[in-house]
């Protein structure tokens, strides 16, 4: 099974300075799969994503993505393998319009892409952004900013999308909307790794679930099974 995985992580360790935060994470994601990565605050979910993107000062182990070893690559090179990341803080760049923020998703993707076409396309998928293309990105509401961050990550058509708590601090209506979007992405064959605190919502979206606690994987199962197993949820995800 692991040979066909799009992403395979083995024994991943990571450190912030002297503080050892990941203690050997191993997990894998198949192509076209939606995997929810859940666990308490501070369990190491975000750190796992950051290690994959090359944003940790020190990380060891093996992370294979699309047949390449990621940890030896520099951060920006990982993007070119088809890995897109939507950080928890969204990081909409201030001073730039929505359109320019979207263009940022394309600046490194290669000159053969027609920016206009790509932006038109993505604006169809995100009608809320379409009306606001020339507004400054940071003046959008929290949910709209999240949509923009996702659109920016999607615009270069990545193989896999890493999402860090997309529902955090967002109005329920928009969370619903986002759920619809993720289902559609799954139907289109996109691979998603979703870090969430909103466990139930995430589990309803996902095929499979991985629970992390104190920097280690403590449980893996199908999302449906975990959704049914309140005990395990209670033990590892209680906030």
């Amino acid at each position: 099974m692991a040979e066909t995985a799009l992403l395979e992580i083995r024994d991943l360790h990571a450190w912030y300075g002297a503080s050892h935060v990941l203690h050997g994470i191993s997990l894998h994601v198949q192509p076209g799969e939606v995997v929810a990565l859940v666990g308490r605050n501070g369990a190491g979910k975000t750190t796992t994503l950051r290690s994959m993107m090359g944003l940790m000062p020190k990380a060891t182990g093996r992370v294979r993505f699309a047949g390449r070893e990621l940890l030896q690559l520099r951060a920006h090179q990982r993007f070119h393998l088809g890995l897109a990341y939507v950080p928890e803080e969204r990081r909409i760049v201030p001073g730039l319009s929505v359109r320019e923020n979207l263009r940022l998703g394309l600046v490194a993707a290669g000159s053969d892409i027609d920016e206009r076409v790509a932006i038109d396309e993505i604006a169809e998928t995100f009608p809320r952004l379409k009306e606001r293309l020339d507004q400054e990105g940071v003046t959008l509401s929290g949910g709209e900013q999240q949509m923009l961050a996702i659109a920016r990550a999607l615009i270069a058509k990545p193989k896999m999308l890493l999402l860090d708590e997309p529902s955090e601090g967002i109005m329920p209506v928009l969370v619903e909307e986002m759920g619809v979007l993720f289902r559609r992405l799954r139907d289109e064959g996109k691979t998603l790794l979703l870090v969430e605190q909103n466990v139930e919502w995430a589990l309803r979206l996902a095929d499979r679930a991985v629970i992390i606690d104190q920097g280690e994987v403590v449980h893996q199962s199908s999302a449906a099974a975990l959704l049914a197993d309140k005990d395990i949820q209670e033990r590892y995800c209680a906030v």
């Binding site: 993107m53 090359g54 944003l55 520099r74 951060a75 920006h76 090179q77 993007f79 070119h80 990341y85 950080p87 990081r91 760049v93 201030p94 001073g95 730039l96 320019e100 263009r103 940022l104 998703g105 600046v107 490194a108 993707a109 920016r152 270069a156």
Partner: protein
């Protein structure tokens, strides 16, 4: 004191400001993007003048010198970033400043060794020798050319920043280098390029100043202090600020020269003190980052 004299005075202030703008611009762009205050900026300005002179004598034309010196010295700047400054990212914000301070000693002394400590004549290009009759007075052609060239450089720079992909990367990279990495941009290469651009602008300022001033190893030290004042007034990292403050300083020096000439140097420092008392972050600076 008649009006035409005041207009002539304004014009000479603008010409003076134009050189200040181009020099301060390099300093401010590098700071805005990399968070590095380049203390060797004045020394690189001076080296730019020498390089322009050398290349002009090599090719027989001032214009080649004007074109090639900023490129060559800009490339040298990229080398400096790559070999020295890069090691200091992540350390105290003071360290690049201190390093480039030491570097300026090396550069100035290096020029003394190669070209001697005397000045070298830098002739005005033959096409621009002499004065133009503006009706109200005569003004050197070369200084008019400097004003025009700086305007063109500013326009090109503005268009590049606002309208091109590279400009977008630069603007976004200054605000959030991490997200640019996530979006596949090799931010290290952008930093090298920006440092090169900043140094190239210093060199351009040097070549432009060459035919107006005497070219000597110490010509950069005064320029450095002036460029600091301009960037502080304009707001560190602000391009618009550098332009406005550069012209403001040039014109105030010029007008003070009319009424109290011996105060002409002091006026810019006084202007800076006043601006800082009112707006500690400078006219166009963003509060929080530095002030």
């Amino acid at each position: 004191m008649d009006l035409s004299l005041i207009i002539m005075q304004l014009l000479s202030g603008i010409a003076l400001g134009a050189v200040l703008v181009i020099t301060a611009l390099g300093l401010t762009i590098v700071f805005g993007m990399l968070g590095v205050v380049n203390f060797a900026h004045g020394a690189l300005f001076m080296i730019g003048a020498y390089a322009g002179l050398y290349l002009a004598s090599l090719t027989g034309s001032f214009w080649w010198g004007l074109l090639l010196a900023p490129i060559l010295i800009g490339g040298f700047g990229m080398l400096i970033e790559f070999v020295l400054i890069r090691r200091l990212y992540g350390r105290s914000i003071d360290d690049p400043l201190l390093l480039t301070f030491g570097l300026s000693y090396i550069l100035v002394e290096g020029v003394r060794i190669v070209f001697g400590s005397d000045g070298i004549p830098f002739p005005t290009p033959p096409q621009l020798i002499g004065v133009l009759d503006l009706g109200i007075g005569f003004f050197p052609r070369y200084r008019l050319f400097v004003i025009a060239l700086v305007a063109v450089v500013l326009l090109v720079l503005w268009l590049t920043l606002e309208k091109t992909r590279i400009g977008l990367i630069v603007r976004a990279g200054a605000r959030d280098p991490t997200i640019m990495q996530v979006l596949g941009v090799d931010i290290g290469r952008v930093w090298v390029a920006i440092f090169g651009l900043g140094v190239g602008l210093a060199a351009l300022g040097g070549v432009l100043a060459g035919p107006m001033r005497s070219v000597n190893p110490e010509m950069g030290s005064l320029v450095l202090a002036e460029a600091f004042v301009v960037t502080v007034i304009g707001g560190l990292g602000s391009i618009v600020g550098a332009v406005v403050a550069g012209l403001m300083v040039g014109i105030s020096i010029s007008l003070v020269a009319l009424f109290a000439p011996e105060m002409a140097t002091i006026v810019m420092f006084a202007l800076m003190a006043v601006v800082l008392l009112i707006r500690p972050q400078g006219l166009f600076g963003v509060r929080g980052r530095t002030a």
